[in-house]
Symmetry: C2
Subunit: 400 residues, 2 copies
C-alpha cells in the first residue's frame, strides 16, 4: 500500500460492469447472445466528446490499468506508469477508457461466466474470440459511452493489434492508433511458444478437457508452466542476466534438482502466483487470438492493402531488446503503412527490458509517448482542464 496516493495517480478507481444484450456475431460464425464488459475510466469526457482514449490490454491484462481499487492495494493498475495526471496519457485532458476484453477472467463475460443455456460455466464451450471480435465489442462500448470517435486507441503487444484492427475496421472512429511493442502478425516461433503454453495447460490432468470448474479443480501445473515460458519471452537475455545472472541461492552448489539458481526461484514464484489468479481457458483463448491475428491474410498477404481504408495517424514504438515482437516486426508494419500512404511516426527505443519495456517508463519512451499525445491534444484542440462531464460513466466508474 502506498502511504499516500501519489500526486500523479488517478487515485482510487471503481470498475463498472456494463451489460450488452444485442447478440454479437463472431468471426468463427458463432455468436454471443449477451455479455458483460467490465470497464474503468479515468479523467472526464469533454463537451465535444473528442478526448477519449481507449486502452487495449494484452494477454494477461484487464480493465484495471491505473490507480488503486482501495488504499489497501499494494500495487496500482498495470499501466499506471503511463496513465495519470502529467503522464503520457494525461488524465487532466484525456478521458481514458479501459476494459477487460471478452473471454477474459476479470469480470467480463468469459469461460468462467455462467452460460445461460446450461446454468454452468461456459468452460471450453466459450467461443473462440478474435481481435476483430474484440474491436466490434469495443465499438459497442464506445456507443454506450457516447464516444463517436476516439482521440486515440492505445495498446502494447496484443493491445497494439486491437489498435491496428480498429484503424482497419472503423476508420471513421479513430483519430490515432498507438501501437507499442506489437506486430502485424505472429511469427512461427511466436505461435510455437503459444502452443507450448497451451499444451502445458491442456495436458495437465486437472484440466479435465476444460471443465475443471465442474470438478472443483484448477490446472495449476499447466498454468504455472505456461506462465514460466511466457515470462522468459517477456524479458531479454540481457535483462535476465542483469536481474539474476547465474547467482546461486546458496553460496555453494547443492548438486540436486531443488531450486539452485535465483532465476529458477523467480520463475517459480511468477508461475505460482499466476496459476492462482488466472483462468486456464482464458489463457488458451488469449493465445489463440494472438495466433489468428493477421489482417493481411484476406488481402493476399499484402499488409499495405489491408490498411488502405485506414484514415488515422499512427505511432509505432518498438524496443531494442524485445525478441518476442522485435523491432523488425514493427518496421515491417511501418513500411506497410508508408506504402499505404498513411501518416506514421516510428521510434525504436533503446531499452534493456525486452518485451516488458512497454510497461516501464524509460526516459526516451516517455518523451516520445508524451510528445505524440501532446500533438494529439493540439490537433484535436483539447483544452487541458477544460473538460466537463457530459457522457460516459462519470464518477460512478471514474476517478473518485
Amino acid at each position: 500500500m502506498p502511504a499516500t496516493i501519489p500526486a500523479d495517480s488517478v487515485g482510487i478507481v471503481t470498475p463498472t460492469t456494463l451489460h450488452f444484450d444485442d447478440p454479437l456475431q463472431l468471426q468463427s460464425g458463432k455468436q454471443l447472445d449477451q455479455y458483460d464488459l467490465v470497464v474503468e475510466t479515468y479523467g472526464t469526457l469533454n463537451a465535444k466528446a473528442n478526448n477519449a482514449i481507449l486502452i487495449c490490454h494484452a494477454l494477461s491484462g484487464h480493465h484495471h490499468a491505473a490507480g488503486y481499487h482501495s488504499k489497501a492495494d499494494r500495487k496500482p493498475g498495470w499501466w499506471d506508469s503511463c496513465i495519470g495526471p502529467g503522464k503520457p496519457i494525461d488524465t487532466n485532458r484525456f478521458y481514458v477508457v479501459s476494459l477487460n476484453n471478452l473471454g477474459g477472467c476479470h469480470g467480463s463475460t468469459g469461460p468462467t461466466s455462467i452460460n445461460p443455456a446450461t446454468g454452468k460455466p461456459y468452460g471450453p464451450d466459450f467461443p473462440i474470440i478474435t481481435v476483430p471480435d474484440w474491436v466490434n465489442s469495443q465499438a459497442r462500448l464506445a456507443d454506450r459511452l457516447g464516444i463517436k470517435c476516439w482521440a486515440a486507441i492505445v495498446g502494447g503487444s496484443l493491445g497494439g493489434m486491437q489498435a491496428l484492427q480498429w484503424a482497419i475496421d472503423y476508420p471513421e472512429r479513430v483519430e490515432n492508433a498507438v501501437v507499442i511493442a506489437s506486430t502485424p502478425k505472429l511469427t512461427a516461433q511466436n505461435i510455437a511458444f503459444n502452443e507450448v503454453a497451451r499444451k502445458a495447460i491442456t495436458s495437465d490432468p486437472d484440466f479435465c478437457e476444460g471443465r475443471y470448474y465442474d470438478f472443483e479443480k484448477i490446472p495449476k501445473r499447466g498454468l504455472m508452466l505456461a506462465r514460466m515460458v511466457g515470462h522468459i519471452t517477456y524479458l531479454s537475455d540481457a535483462s535476465m542476466g542483469e536481474k539474476f545472472g547465474r547467482e546461486l541461492r546458496d553460496k555453494a552448489p547443492k548438486f540436486n534438482f531443488d531450486v539452485e539458481f535465483e532465476v529458477e526461484s523467480y520463475l517459480h514464484y511468477q508461475g505460482e502466483r499466476f496459476s492462482e489468479s488466472f483462468d486456464a481457458n482464458t489463457y488458451l483463448l488469449m493465445t489463440r487470438a494472438l495466433d489468428y491475428f493477421d489482417p493481411a491474410r484476406e488481402y493476399n498477404d499484402q499488409l499495405e492493402v489491408a490498411f488502405k481504408k485506414a484514415t488515422c495517424q499512427f505511432l509505432v514504438v518498438s524496443f531494442s531488446t524485445d525478441w518476442r515482437f522485435s523491432p523488425e516486426r514493427s518496421e515491417l508494419l511501418v513500411d506497410s503503412l508508408i506504402k499505404a500512404g498513411k501518416r506514421v511516426s516510428y521510434a525504436e527505443i533503446e531499452a534493456p527490458h525486452g518485451h516488458d519495456a512497454f510497461l516501464i517508463p524509460t526516459p526516451r519512451y516517455v518523451e516520445v509517448f508524451n510528445a505524440y499525445m501532446d500533438r494529439i491534444a493540439d490537433q484535436l484542440d483539447i483544452d487541458p482542464g477544460n473538460g466537463s462531464l457530459q457522457a460516459g460513466l462519470g464518477a460512478e466508474g471514474g476517478t473518485a
Copy 2:
C-alpha cells in the same frame, strides 16, 4: 533405409559396452562404484596412437554418431554429416571414439540402470553428474583404449563444454579442442529454459518423484513439453518461419484449439517421438549438467585464469542465428583464450538454422572444419591410410 550405404559413410557399426569397476568420485561428493560406458569407434588407431578423436555428445545425443547399425536403419548416426571418409572428421586418417555419457539412457550407466544396492533402477537416486565428472570418466575410457593423448576432442553445444573441460583438467592429454556452438557458461535465460523443461517433467503426475519405472509409467506429457520448448530454442526464428511460416494445415481457420498451424503439428510430432524414446531422469541430469558448467566459478569468474594450464590449440565455431548459444558467447570464450595466451582459431558461420546449424554441413562450416582437421593431421604427422590397428576396440566396435 538407404538403398546402398553411401561411399562416404563409415558403414555398418556395432556399439560395445565397456565395464569399469574402479569407483568414480563425483563432483557432488558422491561416487559411482562401478559403471558401463557404451562406445562406438570409427576408423583405425594408428601405431603411434596419435590419431584419436573423441566425440562428446550434447543433451539428447549418444554414442551412435556415424554410420548405420543395420541396413534397415532409416537414418545414420547423429553427426554422420561430419564423420566419415572424406568428411571433416575423416575416418581414413582419424580413429574416432564416440560414447554415451554417464547418466545417459542409451546403454551407459544412468538412471534407468539397475542400482546394485537395491536391485531396482536408480531413478532419482542416480547422482548428479557434471561436465568434469564426464571428463574423468572419458579419461578412463582413453586409458582403456590405449590413448594417452587425443588428437582432438570435439563437441557441439554441451559437447563443446566437455572439450573445454578436458583442456583445463587434462592439458597433457589433448592436442586440440574443437568447441562448436557452445558457451563457457549458460546465461540466466538458458537456465530458465532448462528449468521450464525440468518443471514440465517433474510436475507430470506420471513422474512419480522419479520412480515411474516402479509404477510402469512414463512422464510422457512432461517429456513432450520439455522437448517442444527445447526445439524452439534449437531453431532460429527465421528458420522456423522458412520451414512453417504461418501456414494453416487446412485452407481456412477452424477457430478451435486443434492443431491449426503447421508449426504446432511439427512440435507435437517432435515431442511425441522424443517422449517415447528418451528417459525423463536422464533429461533432468543433462540439463543440470548444462546449468552447473562454469569453469570460471572457482577462479573468481575469470575465465582466462581457468584456461591458464591448458596447452592445446582451440577451434571455436559459432553460428550467426544461434540464439541459444549465440556468437557473443563464443566471442567471450575466444577473448578469454586470447587473454590466457592460447592459440585459438575462431569462425562465426553465417547459417540460418539456429543452434541446430552445428549438425548441418553448410559449405563454409565444412570448409573451416576440414581445414582445421587437415592442419591437425599435418601437425601430428598423421599419414592418411597408413593407420593399422594397434589398440582400441578394433573391429569389434569399429566399422565392419
